[in-house]
Symmetry: D2
Subunit: 426 residues, 4 copies
């Protein structure tokens, strides 16, 4: 199923007059304040976030899963879903595959489907936190860090497979989320598993094509509840340095202990040229994986402030790979993703409004009150007209959620795929 361009335009027309009013007013205000509105619009329009292939179906918790209807059950259907998202929001121009859930059988066909939606293949993700049917070795006690070489070798080989699959699709980066760790004190020797992990990622690194990057994710806990081998940015950073120039850290917003200052970590990594990937979601308690911006939007804005600063001032850092990494336990996954994409654009737009010169001057004067005013002035601005403008400049919907509903997309998908289709993944 695809979004009909004419229908989309028809719906946009209904909202256009209101949009024009608010955009004109806001644009005018911002111009008076000396903002480069066109430059901001361009940045917003260019900002594209990858959707992971497993996020198009219903998620769940260890206590169960409430299904959703019309889930995509093939890779083509998943790409179609991202296509719908991208058509409406113009912000989801990439998909991030999880292997072995999404191994293409016909690469050419898959690439054509993606191209038809104007979607590229971003970072590919390996999975060594579950045992696959018929796997020779188990990851019950770890994969890249496992005390047994055979398990490590299997996990290394799997990662290299993932690189090869990604390479055929045009991906340029591999994301390693290593769930390895321990549930009980004494279960593993911290130094041995860290050394094993370093050796393993170096092996994978060797197989990395010249123009690829490797992203090393970190997480303090879950699914292991006593220790995790790559528990924090420090460990990830150390491993990336051990591998070489093409290895980077990856920050996932939900992968931190309570109260961590994430924006500071972002700044440190970009200063050192080592922020490679970035996963969006939100959370109140742990790695809750709820809709981006639904719990702590100001924190997201502060993180974007660090990201914007880094993108403008740290040439040593590559342009990061963006991905949404959220779960959809009780919402329609596509609606949830639209809300996440809007929240990301909102935070980005507000961060772009921060007057960096004024801020630097106030910091120099230790005028703490003024510094806060500058940030809050940007944050308190209602930037929705800007985001709408950027979206329609690329042919998207003024109001994606309303349009999605008006177009009866979910009903169409159910019709096409049935009520009981199930997406692979968690």
């Amino acid at each position: 199923m695809r979004v009909d361009e004419n229908q989309l335009e028809g719906i946009n027309k209904e909202h256009l007059s209101l949009h024009d009013d608010t955009y004109n007013f806001l644009g005018n205000m911002l111009s008076k304040q000396g903002k480069d509105v066109d430059g901001i619009l361009k940045k917003l329009a260019d900002f594209q976030v990858a959707i992971p292939s497993w996020a198009l179906g219903a998620g769940g918790t260890r206590f169960g899963r409430f299904g959703f209807q019309g889930e995509p059950s093939t890779l083509e259907q998943k790409i179609d879903d991202v296509g719908i998202l991208h058509k409406l929001t113009q912000t989801a121009g990439a998909i991030s595959l999880h292997i072995p859930w999404d191994v293409p059988s016909d690469y050419k066909a898959i690439k054509e489907v993606a191209a038809s939606h104007d979607i590229i293949f971003d970072a590919v993700n390996s999975n060594t936190f579950q045992d696959q049917k018929n796997a020779k070795e188990s990851y019950k006690f770890g994969s890249l860090s496992n005390i047994n070489k055979a398990s490590r070798d299997q996990a290394i080989a799997h990662n290299i497979d993932v690189i090869n699959i990604g390479d055929k699709l045009g991906s340029k980066s591999l994301t390693i989320w290593l769930a390895d760790g321990s549930n009980f004190p004494g279960q593993s020797n911290f130094q041995h598993v860290l050394q094993n992990t370093e050796d393993s990622v170096k092996e994978i690194y060797k197989a990395l094509p010249e123009d690829w990057k490797m992203f090393i994710e970190y997480k303090p806990y879950e699914p292991n509840f006593y220790s995790t081998v790559i528990q924090d940015w420090g460990t990830s950073f150390m491993l990336a340095n051990a591998c070489g120039d093409k290895a980077y850290s990856l920050v996932d917003l939900g992968h931190h202990l309570p109260n961590t200052n994430i924006e500071q970590i972002v700044s440190t990594l970009m200063m050192k040229g080592k922020l490679g990937g970035f996963h969006f979601n939100d959370s109140k308690y742990g790695d809750d994986d709820v809709t981006v911006g639904s719990i702590k939007p100001y924190s997201l804005f502060l993180i974007f402030n660090s990201l914007v600063y880094g993108m403008e001032n740290n040439p040593q850092n590559p342009y990061p790979a963006w991905m949404i990494d959220a779960s959809h336990n009780i919402k329609d996954p596509l609606e949830d993703l639209i809300q996440s994409l809007e929240a990301i654009q909102e935070a980005y737009a507000k961060a772009l409004l921060i007057d960096q010169d004024q801020l630097a001057a106030a910091q120099k004067d230790n005028d703490v009150v003024k510094c806060q005013e500058i940030l809050q002035n940007a944050y308190r601005t209602d930037v929705r007209p800007l985001i709408e403008k950027a979206r329609i400049s690329r042919g998207g919907a003024i109001n994606p959620i309303e349009t999605y509903r008006a177009l009866k997309v979910r009903q169409g998908l159910i019709k096409e795929r049935g009520i009981n289709s199930v997406a692979s993944g968690l």
Copy 2:
């Protein structure tokens, strides 16, 4: 020192045209959406928050204190400071005294000073967490919960003194923050100290004038680091119920364990008619007592959503007593308080914009996406023009911080009071 009305008006004039533009645009939009803009403006204008008498000087941490210049060193000067705040913001029409730091010597004179600023005396606060010079009994091991009756009696008598002092000033409520607890396992018997506390607050309750309320604050830790007698809302609620109809719980935003859902606690207490007082501040780690809205403004908005709902739907709950309970370690306390007051008004205004009927309908349909949209629509609105409007309707400044600086208030206070004046308090 007082804010000169003419000067204030002069500064306002410079900002008026911009204010009119933005207000007219926003007001128009909101009216089209069916909002009762005048009703909202009235509520904003009526909303008054008490300033605690000890918050006009520099705060500190256990590692020290960096002083500030021009601090008020008498109660009159403290009231003058609140007067300045109130003149500029029109939101600080009350002061909350801490005894024994602010015992008036001449009640009539003090009341006249306050009246001249249009300031009332809100809840009075007792202090049994420090030993006063020449005190007969020590609170080192507790006050209202102390295992020794003499200490308990002294603390009870002090609270009754505080009531009497407040009574002479026109206060109508007593706030008890009981810091009692223990630093080490085994140090105290949980049941004994809880029973002592219940007995003590009942004694104080007996001395409460008929038209007074008693607020029982709770806090999980600090200054005691193992246990606190009144550690959570459940304990506070239980004690309030044990006392009677005039006893209530008091919620302080910083007094919760990490990740607590405070807005839910607010709703529960108001449903049961037991939310009496409310202390504003913000925090990232613990009871950090930083500027309201500086860390988690969305959380503040959600809490205001609960407050607004309760004020409109829970006649069983009295109108709460509002106070700012923040510390000012590195900012000019008056500027910090202005920022806090603005953040409070902002969260309140946004909560007032939530379409409660639509929200109830979406909740009824379990349309989770729509519920979120409704809240975020309200939150994403730039309500600053509304707040400005409410402020100038009462004679305040369009832009209080800028006005404060343009009027060189701090310089005036330093001139009046000197560089080394020190406020009593923490």
Copy 3:
């Protein structure tokens, strides 16, 4: 499969001489200190903890599950597993059923199996956090709190069914863990869902037989990640009070926000006569459900100090129903449960060693150092000989884990049940 009594005795004989040495030395020491060693032994021998029927198979996380071999696939087999545990440890004399996972088809037969193992049926547990096949209403948006009456009614009826099933087996209590809550701000109206919950539990309470108790569990988050209706002890306590004398709170060690002082909550509830049930587990991050005592054994000891104090001094509180509520992701579930049972006995034994008179005297003197010494003296004592003694006095194993392995129990179970048997449950 059953543990062979002769084999067990044979293994015990090998350890007896060492046990006697250590027990005699310790018993002698404790007697010299004035301890009533026989009284302590009797208390230890009498202490029985229920095993939940779903805890005999491998657990998992939302990221997957690593299977275990020889899992029980019928209720009879589950009772057999508890029988093995009880034979070895003499501490697991009860099973706690989860409905609908474990509805007996032949009550008489099931009761005979249990009786043959000397096992009783403790609290029965309802499940309204998952949708059952063919269920008319869904719990996706709540059960007892659901905004839709039909879902609430179904959940109420289910709970009443559970009571009836339990009644036929000799259970005397119902445990309600209500997972209801919301994942996003605005999703539900806090006051409505709380009121619905109060109404629902009152309905269930009406169906409670005269000699039954109802336990209301609380939990701050998971599976819902924004709010949980019964989020803390205060809410549970309020609901229990609203129901009546037979309703109680249930404390699960993993169901608290970070750093909560649980032993204080235990003391408060027992003082008010409202601690009905208690679930053991351990955790480092959230509701990790790992082996009891594996992470914070001193905390468990302090909690037992509160429990022991309450059992001896609070006649207003009934004897609590004990249950282990842990998950077994990477250990043999039976070995894991043995480790949990030993940790419980250890904490209980140490708490019984606390000299309560000395402690009360030191508390009276505010001799904080002494209070700590008294607790630590008890805690630092190696009480393993006492636990062994209590165990063999009832016919259990001196060393249950070693015995379990020596008897090749797991191998026997695999032989009986096969490699791929799967237990119902999570």
Copy 4:
């Protein structure tokens, strides 16, 4: 005041028979298990922990301070206090000075006093978190990270002064705890302050004598409540690497976010040869600085397991500098320190009892249950007789707390120094 050797021996004699009984029994048991009891005793006897000069007086919180009597008011008296501690415990053979609180006026005299107590001067500590009277520049907005060069230079110069002072006393290491950070988003530019800090520590490093070490402490928050420049081990490690071989990280137990796995950090740092210093304390909520082992003794044991492993297997890591960094708000500081020292010795002794060969074998087999058993077997052993033995082997007290009280040390100090003496420090 000094402990009288004869009196000490007299008191020991009273406890000797009981000690002998328990020691003989335990020693015998351990020998049978193949433990090298003499080797363990030697390690325990050799283990010496520095006492910070500011920890001999009463501590406080931001809410106040309850004084203590007989506090040392001169550096000589502080050393005398450590001398008393060392005489009784034989574990406190070092003092760690804080500058500018403890600048000696007569170096030779001070060294003689220390030598007379058999006490050496361990790491010296700089203080740039407070403004000293007459200081030219303020640290209100930072010291080594300050945006203003003059403040940075003053802080660098102070650290070099501290090195020079330490050098004259025989210290061989400098500890830098940098409290710098920010209280509000936007207040500082994360990259600028980090770069400033790196430049500043490199300047200090240049002044380090050849045989000295520099320790860089980290802490997530307090006294700054939004960000801290050196917020975690990763940042500290990065800075230490930037300085060179003589720069190391310093771990303080209280300086971590909730639920951090500290023992893993210890292992990582030692593996990389970068754990230079270690500060002991305990906490439940934040940096509570309560008595070592009073809240989480098992966690301390696990950390010691990492330390012992590192000391035995990581020749690349220097022997760490140990210090107690706790506050004494309601206990006699000397009694509190004795309790801390005993808890440290206990955790160390238990960690030494872990059978590392068995553990490695069980880890190799992924026998998680066995791994836990091995750790818990060591932990559950009552090692007090070992510690007593190690202590008396050096001439200390069998029971230091009881001896301290029997000798009426505090009363003697009050007599000598008066009731109102006040120690410099926090």
